[in-house]
Symmetry: D2
Subunit: 329 residues, 4 copies
């Protein structure tokens, strides 16, 4: 479904080459100071066309708030926000109307719906994340007012962790008509203990679902993540001291509930599937064809996923903060 | 929350040393042949006390179906199932009433609720998974009737993948008063294309949330998982041939929707936090104390997580199958 | 579905002649003092077999709490409660296995599910309300601690409002092999203003849905209910004074949100459909047959619906109280 | 909350004098032919400014579809629709910034949120129903394609049922600076048996919640509604014949499930609270003040509620149709 969250509910809508993308936020407390600039600054971080490393698509991505804000404050009613799609070179996609791009959602959308908006990936485009980031901007603001900050960063791209080497890897892939993947880490500082619900609503489960719901993410780890598989219990347990914990292998979550330590999440991002290199695929008639995807594509989506992952973690945490309010006696 | 699923809704309840554990399944189609033996056989696979590698706790774990089945068939009404807790040596836990075991949910439950059933971990005990496995047995039966099979296996324990070496690692850890973690892989074969919902309800997101909602799981990967971070797009894309796909790096999911290939999931399981080795911790009064956890604990939870992970994947897939029915025109 | 509520979530299960009926309550705050006696006393009010006016079915209806309570207090985990079905004279229903009783759910269950537990109405039996009443007892306790009391009463039965006349009407109907309907009023006193959510979650909408979800209820009115249709705005508006409102035509709800006045709800209860008088109906093979329903049936369900309606209003209000907590800044 | 439905999920947003009102529809099957004209025609029926009996507010109410439709067909992705607010004479409402209008949501919004958009009632304005009607137009189209039609009509206004008398009553009230209420009936023909879910999701419960969620509705009856209270079971039961049922006192719903007969719903609509007659009220400072509400108000909201009630019933039924699809084996 297109709605995320239990208390703060975000519904996103829009296709890459439709009239607009956007989000409706329901369940936001009244009285939060909010204007379009608060949202615009985070949107600008995910915007394409700002460096040689990203897609050349030019979008001003100007957000308009349609409802839910009165005289500069949220009113407790749904906040609808839209961003018009401006640079829609839909003609570029005519060749793809009947072909399934490898690694893309084209084939599975066709199988599921029997119809798809092929222009720029339609709903499966990364452009859908505009709505998430707009909503996330509100959540980040709410969290900051509660002493919680969220920061994302690139850990590695194609095996490299040095910023200069990362840039080289991306440009080399671009020049070769190829693409590369990487790992992003998002850390939340200042979280109170008690967030998250045991069993199916564990904080790790909510975060994992949120992250895996971002296109291109194929792995999620909390704290030490997959490294726990190779450890002894005596190494992995975070012992307690007078001041708190002596380590943070658990990534700030014990039994599905935040412990008050930093929440640490890592996600694995696959290489952009749109590449110029020739690949074999099928069309909707079952014919096997060659494909070389030209156009304005990111050779590495990792940098642009950082603000999206921050937004998703912010939405999870704000949702849990509201949930937690219910059980304060 | 304690409910899982959108169409097939499972609510589990029960504490390790309470009267019973169980589950209520709502949304199950009518007319499915079901009896207690169908459920018992999967429950027996997760039962403790069956090998030197697992906890010595003896539970017959006899399931009783209280409702929703009439003359051997489901009726479309809620199926309630309970398993009485029999071998409750609650006295063993008296020493832990006021102490937070490292790596356990003791501290965070206390912070969240201000009260906790300390006996055997209460609700955070692995015993909660009895309800999931009971529900999963129904889902596995439904899926099998639709040509879908799910198989889980241990990939590695503490860095070893050979069964004999795995057994040695576990026994060595047990003898050292320690514990070890590992990796489990679950594969679903025979899934039709089209399952899963784009955006927040991506099949990968649903699976990741389901797996991370199992206690002790700290990482989830779909298909190649974290390995995608080091690859080129040209390596990672699954090209299409006349007969399907030439590889399955995506783990059977494209754009959040099943492609018809095998669905491949890997999870990282942390070492059991309950160990005999002395650790430092705190009690509820803030005193720093030493703790050595004696009692009947698994030195490695990995083998017993396999049926739980199978059950969770089965619940996700049956839920998606029912969801999919809505959109067949 | 079989789950009610957004924050306090009640799932009921069980058939009239199955092993047990019951409920699982999820989302209850920790720390509430609760034992089986708290629940038993409300259950006893809805129990049959206590007067010549009600069904002769004898059920002790002893509730057992299976989980979620530790040392006399709720722990924040799911509270599962069951009541075993004892006086199951299922043989009485053999004649009804293939016949659709007029005014009952027999025909529609058969159409919907293709299978039904015909014994005593199965899931559509009034016995399902045991789970609601058990959950409602907890809600009533929570509300009382917050200064809110709920009282239901019979307003009229078959057009009569005097208690003696009501008793006569019921006995006369019973003797004639017939049944009668009536009207019940439920009032909540002490509700704070602010409960309920505008638009689809209006407090009136939540209450109307809750009441109409009780079997046999065919009409719901808030405050003046249907009488508003014949009034002028100047008569119907509740004007404000220094101390509050000068009248309560609105039944304590304005714009879907509680105003702090008494919440007043009236429900119309249909005559029990099970009557001894001969009626025409069909069997599952399409044959038209005569039917005279013998057995232990209430000639008027109105008195026994009172505690059920109180329970449902309590569940709605506790749910809204918890919802409200989220938005306190 | 601002979302309605379980399978077809409608989220509405917007205030009377904000930038726009609208809705996002999630869960709509792919492949339905839909364009803006389909929606416009139903919107035009609820539009003000079309007769001396309705508000003089002039709104063209032009709907724009922002997403979810591609080449004239739904794609299975969210359908976002907006209607810009054009005739916003917000100045008219300056006098009401600090005063609570009797019978309005002003007081309760202030109590709940501590802030409110006072202009034209903000979110509590009847203008919110634009989003519902837009979504309902889609549902009506879907239902019509499945052989189901929905028709609403005025049964009575201020005790009168003749159209001419109704018009006189409304004009007389208007001239007196007053307003009147009435009763609306909505009938769905062609519904298959089997819609609705027993217990809390009974079709009557879903309909009652949907209707009571429309502003100004204070009573709901299914079939004979409150009249059942005065009847014998032998009068109220709908007996079965070879061809179906011999009567329809139940309004097409038995045990919460549709029987295949016409679904008959009646709702009681209160007189518009905005009247010119002087009333006593309070302001936000606690002062008692006199108020006479001038401006462009409907003296009777009953005619304009008809398409809204039709839309809500359509949304309920389409939702149940989709739900039903899940359980077809």
């Amino acid at each position: 479904m297109n709605t995320f969250g239990r208390n703060l509910k975000i519904t996103t809508f829009g296709e890459s080459h439709g009239a607009a993308v956007g989000a409706v936020i329901d369940g936001c407390p009244a009285g939060i100071v909010l204007n379009e600039n608060d949202i615009q600054s985070l949107l600008d971080r995910r915007r394409p066309g700002t460096s040689p490393l990203t897609s050349a698509r030019q979008e001003r991505d100007r957000v308009e708030i349609l409802s839910g804000v009165f005289e500069g404050k949220t009113t407790g009613t749904p906040i609808a926000m839209i961003v018009r799609n401006e640079d829609r070179q839909s003609k570029d996609y005519d060749a793809l109307r009947e072909v399934f791009r490898p690694g893309h959602a084209d084939f599975t959308y066709q199988e599921k719906y029997g119809i798809r908006d092929h222009r720029g990936g339609g709903r499966s485009s990364g452009r859908e994340t505009v709505g998430r980031v707009a909503a996330g901007a509100l959540a980040l603001k709410y969290l900051a007012a509660n002493g919680i900050t969220i920061t994302g960063k690139i850990i590695e791209v194609h095996g490299k962790s040095d910023p200069g080497e990362i840039e080289n890897e991306i440009l080399a892939a671009k020049n070769a008509g190829d693409s590369v993947g990487g790992i992003v880490e998002i850390v939340a500082k200042g979280c109170p203990p008690g967030l998250g619900d045991p069993v199916f609503g564990k904080l790790d489960a909510l975060i994992a679902g949120a992250m895996m719901g971002i296109g291109a993410v194929k792995g999620v780890g909390i704290g030490d993540g997959f490294a726990v598989a190779g450890k002894f219990g005596s190494e992995n347990n975070d012992q307690m001291t007078k001041d708190g914990f002596s380590s943070n292998h658990a990534g700030g979550i014990l039994g599905g509930i935040s412990s008050g330590q930093d929440i640490v999440v890592r996600i694995a991002v696959k290489p952009t599937p749109s590449i110029a290199k020739t690949q074999q695929t099928r069309d909707i008639h079952g014919n096997v064809v060659d494909i070389s995807i030209r156009g304005r594509h990111d050779p590495c989506i990792v940098p642009r996923i950082v603000p999206v992952a921050e937004a998703m973690l912010a939405l999870v945490l704000m949702d849990c903060m509201l949930e937690q309010e219910k059980y304060r006696n």
